[in-house]
Symmetry: C3
Subunit: 343 residues, 3 copies
């Protein structure tokens, strides 16, 4: 990364206050600015950094600009946060996509690789798999038989996509995530547990992002489904036959047990557990570490294990924190009551 | 997969009602049947699908068959669920096992590979490792020094089996699971934590299945043990020197801390935590998200963090949910008591 | 491993009681000693094993030695536990480090590999990466662009170190851990979530150990930091822009949400969750499964979800366990009160 203040101002249509030739080679958070770096200020509470930051160039929301001379070069824009995002997206695009098939990958003769795709070294593509145009598959990925991956996806190093799973367009699957491992299904017998074959697959719709080290199990029969636009963080368990709708956000280390159905636009917190065979509606918020053990209607907010209404949980938890005092009050009442009875 | 109704009926000794030449090429859950697919009905509450399903062939428990003509071809059997399982197992066997050593694997000269084993591309087998007959090791697996793996195992892509670990017969280890990583052992000193060497191993007995992305740590000295027939789901932590008995079922994201001993036939729920150095008996059930912090006798059922008896937890949690009301009642009692005292 | 009792005694300056030629080929915990193995006894409660153990050689703290003849060969030392540690460290050093670049690795022309480093087969090193002297990188590791790894590190099979991350000296990163995956940052829009580019990196300081299957996300801008000497167990989530200080110990399956700052010498239990954007001081202890949702001062001990003082939690939880009895007492009081009122 090497840009001048004037190049940056031109990307985001900003007004330069200071040296238009100031050179930046990196980006810093405003709290820990470095010389030669770019940062941004979009809120008044960070304005004081305009006088103290070591950054060479700072993008600032124009309503926060009060002087016509600062130590760093200032680029004034309408909304510094948005302009900074635009810039970061531009920068990421400039990095370029990888293309071509690297030496040392193993691709079956019957696999079909789209135009401008990238297949990294040590990646294994099984028979009849199909990789879409412009999709980048990094080194050490395993692609099973008959897997279909859409266009412009990015599959990071060490991800495993098992047989017959289907991934849409514009998806990102991070490192070491396993899509399509066997569901956890065993039939108890007197001698032990007998495995129930897991013959379904996983379908991941367009625009889904899945973090690192997740386990998304294949359905027993039919499909485990992750709906369009849903974003899944790291270390998450999605069990067999779960159906997740569109535009959900699921935070790290959450787990969804088998055959549960989840609607659209829900927010599921970190380390949440959801039992199997229930239905969660739309626009539900589940607080971190909650345990959801029954179906949930639309627009509810939940907390606790087992999860109840968020407000109820917090209100009751206040009393839990005072439980020792409350028990003392009961003791006092009993003593008073005895006194009365003995009167 | 391509079978006729009559082929399927012959596998499971069923009676055909309808077109014996109906062709199936896949399997659907009964709730989302597709033309050309097979499904099954074993419970009365699904019987209505006999009239509405798009499936071409449905296996039905004979007591649920009421007409002699349905839209799909019906195969009547005694127990549709069991027959369907038999069929799925047959189908999975037909898929065949992989055999042979793929180009691009790296196998040390001193390693011993059994007959009919499969070693995938990019799999690394270290010195003196021993792989049993018919065992399938998929691409990108790491097998350390002196590791012994029994017969007819399946080790999925990206699993890591570290030095001197031992795996029995008929085991399945799913993708990206790490067997035999160092236990978490450090000695505090004034300057920081000093690593305690972890020189033991992991022993996995016959018929064990371990899901994806699990961490099973090696013992400090001696062995971490997973007993015969135990089934472990995804993203599970088994710390150093843990001993787990036979036929346990452990659900996703549970964690067992160091040196704890677990008996036979226990059911441990998802996201459960068990502290170190305790003993859990046999046939214990631990509810999801519980935290077990002391030893547990046989046949107990537990819930909560710290875990107590399941029934006690639920009974007390009902009061927790009404805690605000309960405190109001105490307020009222205090007011009444004051009135009395002031009388 | 093959040593005589006299060789072992010479390493740890011990006094032999018994056969100085007794040969050991392995190590056992004292509870499950095996013939031909070495063990140790440092506490009185294990002294009875001196008479019953099958071990061939036992290192014993001299104050526990009472006879001049035992069945196993005894090596008397001042502190058997310490001597055993010394021995295990010696043994591990004898195993030797791996060196050299194995066939089948893929190393970019512009990468720099230090003296005596080991690069395993199927490991991928990207452009301009720099690997320090004596660092061992096992098979199947992915090293991104511009990554810098210090001296004498060990990176286990299947770890992924993404672009521009920096790792200090003497670090250990276990199998399948992902360092520098994208942080979980999305901007909600009416149509769905738009990805916020994650352009920072991860900095891991000297002497850090990270277990298997962890996810340490890169910062949005700036750096996610793991401080010197901090030890992290398995299956742990460290979100973007988290800053962790020195000499912390974090147990398995804990998760730290984005932008949280953690001081020095803290102990964070298994399955703990810490919310984003808070500050945790120094020498704090957080009990397993707790959920920390606000900033924490120095030297506190916490428990519960949301976490409160450890003692308060336990004291109040005792009442929770008796909640049904407590409600009965309130019922009685109300009945008595009614009687009084009706008097």
């Amino acid at each position: 990364m090497e840009f001048t203040a004037s190049q940056i101002a031109s990307f985001i249509d900003g007004k330069i206050i200071g040296d238009e030739n100031a050179l930046i080679t990196g980006v810093s958070p405003i709290e820990s600015g470095e010389s030669g770096h770019l940062s941004f200020i979009a809120q008044d509470r960070f304005s004081h950094f305009l006088d103290t930051s070591k950054c060479s160039v700072i993008i600032v929301s124009e309503n926060l600009v009060e002087k016509d001379n600062y130590n760093p070069t200032v680029i004034a824009v309408k909304d510094a946060y948005l302009s900074f995002q635009v810039l970061m997206n531009l920068y990421q695009e400039m990095q370029g996509r990888k293309e071509g098939i690297e030496d040392g990958s193993s691709i079956h003769d019957t696999a079909v690789i789209g135009d401008r795709a990238y297949i990294g070294a040590f990646t294994y593509v099984s028979e009849k798999a199909k990789i879409g145009e412009g999709t980048q598959i990094y080194p050490h990925v395993y692609i099973g038989k008959g897997v279909k991956i859409g266009k412009n996806c990015k599959i990071d190093s060490g991800a495993r996509i098992y047989d017959y799973c289907i991934i849409g367009d514009n998806c990102v699957i991070h490192s070491n995530t396993v899509v399509g491992g066997d569901g956890f299904g065993f039939q108890p017998t007197a001698e032990g547990f007998r495995k129930i074959p897991q013959l379904g697959n996983v379908i991941i719709e367009d625009d889904v992002e899945i973090g690192s080290n997740c386990s998304i199990d294949r359905a027993t029969i039919g499909s485990t489904v992750i709906g369009k636009g849903t974003k899944i963080d790291n270390l998450i368990q999605i069990a067999h036959n779960v159906k997740i709708g569109q535009n959900n956000v699921i935070a790290a280390q959450a787990g969804i047990a088998g055959s549960t159905t989840i609607g659209d636009w829900n927010q599921i917190g970190g380390q949440v557990g959801v039992v199997g065979h229930i239905k969660i509606g739309n626009q539900v918020k589940i607080q971190a570490q909650s345990g959801v053990n029954s179906s949930v209607g639309d627009r509810e907010t939940l907390y606790g294990s087992p999860a109840i209404s968020y407000n109820d949980y917090l209100r009751n938890y206040v009393h839990f924190r005072n439980f020792t005092e409350i028990v003392k009050r009961i003791n006092n009442l009993e003593n008073t009551s005895k006194d009365h009875t003995n009167e």
